[in-house]
Symmetry: C2
Subunit: 326 residues, 2 copies
């Protein structure tokens, strides 16, 4: 474990335990099967980052009531629902090193359990009785489904631009981070500029996280990643390192990248050659640079709050986005 | 067209036109593909019964503001979302006589467009800024997903009881009818007993509709039904006529029914023999009787309102549940 990760975990362990309990207690399904499938995805080593961000956002705005923890489960349910549907959409076999739910129980059960978790998160949202929080949460689901559809429509298309990529990861990832942070501030009845600042923090952090995640596909191995190496490429998911390299290589190298797109049968050697081109062309560095800028922007957003242990935590979490096994 | 159907349609044609516009205008997707898939399912000959019930429920409680029409689209979006996911879950090929969306665009797009419609309905619900309406709508989605999972878990199981069946159709169908009617009353700020009465009306009507729909599988042909004859049986979906017949036949006939369960390759002759057994054993009549009782109960629920054209419409719609091509 990196020391940054340990430093963060030491300070949030009590919160994480409460979040864990809230996720378990608010699930409340009528059927054993729903419970089993939902628990498989919910309790398979998620970081609980989204609920934690909501809690910390409420706290930095001075909110200390215990209902914040129950509401924080909303963001883990939403996250789990989209994982269930996305793994199905992507035909993924592994999720966090375990067999994906749709492989264990079949697509129908995975679709319906995802629907249940989506509905559960909205029921919890309704319990806040805060129209703006409910709006935010309904908006997250709309954005995420559209982000995934956009990604699907762009699958394997070498003409994808950086702007397309940013739009996709904004919708499919950043909107949920942004919504979690905003909802914390809204729960605290924070002033408008605090709501915006935390929304900005969440958005930029979410973008940086997704970029780091996309980089991992070209810098990590299966054991660390918990999924197949080169999985994004095999699924035709073109992320920033590839998009940049496509725009900044010529001749053989460009042709080589294009040939690799959407192939599912490439050799380890082919994949290593690709990674070398991603480095040479600047695709890896460029992605890292963009992610770093976003982390700085996220940190800057919370500097409007006075210094406090919670603010330190939020900035450490932002740094952690890029400190994962890259 | 039956004269009852015509009599109903004559009185609601203006409402239906407004509902049609609301469904189209509130869809608001960012992507052409989402729009295309959503429109395929939304504009393929749906009866708009659920939005209509919401409108009429608001009206019988004295509500006349135009926003009721916009909110009524919620119930068609919810309905369409579950159709998209259920057709996928059931592996259905046809929907209302047209190729099912997952066959035209693939499962991923069907899953994600369903998610979008679900999210859209909840965004619209949030716009009512009425916590009880939002609760009701989130609850509908939870119940529907669980009803489908329950149905899936019972697939092909000859031990299914009438109570199981009633629980499944309550969740997967009646809760949406009930929620549409309740939401209309809630929008009108109607007194509690009016909300309950309309909820009861919707619930009983929904159950009767589903029973009638399940009967159609054994009394209709493909052209009328817009789906494959014997589709429920082929999917292992055991409905009341079968459940009753299983409990009320012995020896060869009982064995014959059990042999038919879950088979996908039965001949027309086999299917006709099955239908004969369903008649002989009383399975058809019993289902019809139960549905009729529910229609009467639905009508009784709205008799608490003074006589009016809207009340007439609601009771006519209840009668229509059983007047469809049976």
């Amino acid at each position: 474990m990196t020391s940054l990760k340990k430093r963060i975990l030491d300070r949030v362990s009590a919160d994480l335990m409460e979040i864990e309990t809230a996720i378990s207690q608010n699930l409340n399904p009528h059927f054993e099967l729903v419970s089993r499938v939902a628990r498989h995805i919910l309790f398979s080593g998620g970081k609980r980052l989204r609920p934690l961000l909501m809690l910390l956002s409420a706290r930095i705005c001075g909110y200390a009531k215990p209902d914040a923890v129950a509401f924080s489960a909303i963001f883990e349910y939403l996250h789990a629902a989209t994982l269930l549907h996305d793994d199905l959409v992507d035909g993924a076999v592994l999720r966090r090193g375990q067999t994906a739910a749709h492989h264990l129980w079949g697509s129908p059960t995975a679709v319906l359990t995802g629907d249940f978790l989506l509905a559960r998160s909205l029921s919890l949202a309704a319990r806040t009785e805060r129209p703006r929080i409910i709006h935010t949460i309904a908006g997250i689901t709309e954005a995420m489904s559209q982000g995934e559809i956009h990604q699907l429509a762009l699958k394997g298309n070498p003409e994808i631009t950086e702007a397309d990529y940013m739009e996709v990861i904004h919708r499919k990832t950043a909107v949920l981070f942004e919504g979690a942070c905003r909802s914390g501030a809204l729960l605290a009845d924070a002033p408008e500029d605090a709501v915006s600042a935390l929304g900005r923090y969440g958005n930029d952090l979410g973008l940086a996280f997704q970029m780091a995640d996309d980089l991992l596909d070209y810098t990590s191995d299966t054991r660390v990643l918990g999924k197949t190496v080169g999985a994004d490429l095999k699924e035709g998911k073109l992320t920033l390192p590839i998009i940049y390299a496509l725009a900044n290589t010529e001749n053989e190298k460009n042709t080589f990248i294009r040939r690799m797109l959407g192939r599912t049968d490439f050799s380890v050697q082919d994949f290593e050659n690709l990674i070398e081109i991603l480095h040479e062309s600047g695709g890896i560095d460029y992605t890292l640079k963009r992610a770093k800028d976003l982390v700085e922007s996220a940190k800057k957003a919370v500097y409007r709050f006075p210094e406090s242990p919670t603010r330190h935590l939020l900035t450490d979490i932002a740094d952690y986005a890029l400190a994962r096994k890259l």
